[in-house]
Amino acid sequence: MKSIEELKAIRDKTLKEMSIRDNEDKVRIVVGMATCGIAAGAKPVMSAFIDELNKRNINNVSVSMTGCIGICRLEPVAEVFDSSGEKTTYVKLDAEKARRIVAEHIVNQKVVTEFTVGAAER
């Protein structure tokens, strides 16, 4: 496979940069990716999270998936776990909302109240 060489180049470049960014606190974004979530459009939401984080070169945030959170009527759902362990649950997401969460919650550390489960259930 020719492109293994490309992969090795990525590895070498990453090894050089690694020391700068490895001691930051980890923030986690967890997207509900069960049948209900996927059918409601969780994939483009997760894709938007990943893309927006990459675009802004944010490396201390991990994006992962989980099963059904139990509020299928509010899917797509994502939970943001801050470095302090504080959890915010965002509901009825789409790609655009995911990008705003990155900009406002992850970058500016301000919860986007209007997208939270609390606001949706009021």
Binding site: E6, L7, R11, T14, T35, K43, M65
Partner: protein, 187 residues
């Protein structure tokens, strides 16, 4: 589900919940009439015979939050709609093999969808699982093995953005190479 990539994303959650640490996704074109075969093989906890019989019933699930599960029934519906079928083989403690077949030229066959992106996301969210991706058709074949990639990466995380992007592009090239002109839906 609109396309096969969404089904893959969904069905694999079953393997993950079953505790699998090795998952093999194979997508091949074979036979006459040409069938598209999706096979997902895992080494999770497996199911007994009775559970396999019930698993295509929407009101059967191993989840405890609710007692309905739609992933497998929906995949079965997509396969049957396209003149195919769903087959599950499993044994407790020995993992599960799930096979869904679709007649490629059936008008109701769902498209492939964005398979490279789905696989990238699965690897990103479950970096500790050993993934193998296998694509084949009479034209060509393609294989990607995350254990092998990890060996080349030599300590650099497989969840690194550039590595994930490389994985996505490599699978995209693989799909073009293997299915280009056959499934006629790779953009």
């Amino acid at each position: 589900m609109k396309d096969l990539s969404l089904h893959i994303m969904d069905i694999i959650q079953n393997s993950i919940v079953a505790g699998a640490d090795k998952i093999n996704i194979s997508l091949r074109v074979e036979g006459t009439p040409q069938m598209l075969v999706l096979e997902i093989l895992d080494n999770g906890k497996g199911m007994d015979e009775e559970f396999i019989r019930k698993v295509t019933d929407p009101f059967k699930t191993s989840r405890t939050t609710r007692n309905v599960g739609l992933g497998i029934p929906l995949l079965e519906q997509s396969a049957k709609m396209a003149g195919g079928e769903l087959d599950i083989k499993s044994e407790p403690g020995k993992g599960t093999t799930l096979k869904a077949r679709f007649n490629i030229n059936h008008i109701d066959r769902i498209p492939l969808g964005d398979i490279p992106e789905t696989i990238k996301m699965l690897i990103m969210a479950n970096p500790n699982i050993s993934w193998t991706i296998h694509l084949s058709s009479p034209n060509d074949d393609f294989e990607l093995d995350t254990d092998e990639l990890k060996h080349h990466l030599d300590g650099v995380s497989i969840t690194n953005n550039n590595v994930l992007e490389w994985i996505q592009n490599t699978i995209f090239d693989g799909i073009k190479l293997v299915y280009g002109g056959v499934l006629d839906e790779v953009n």
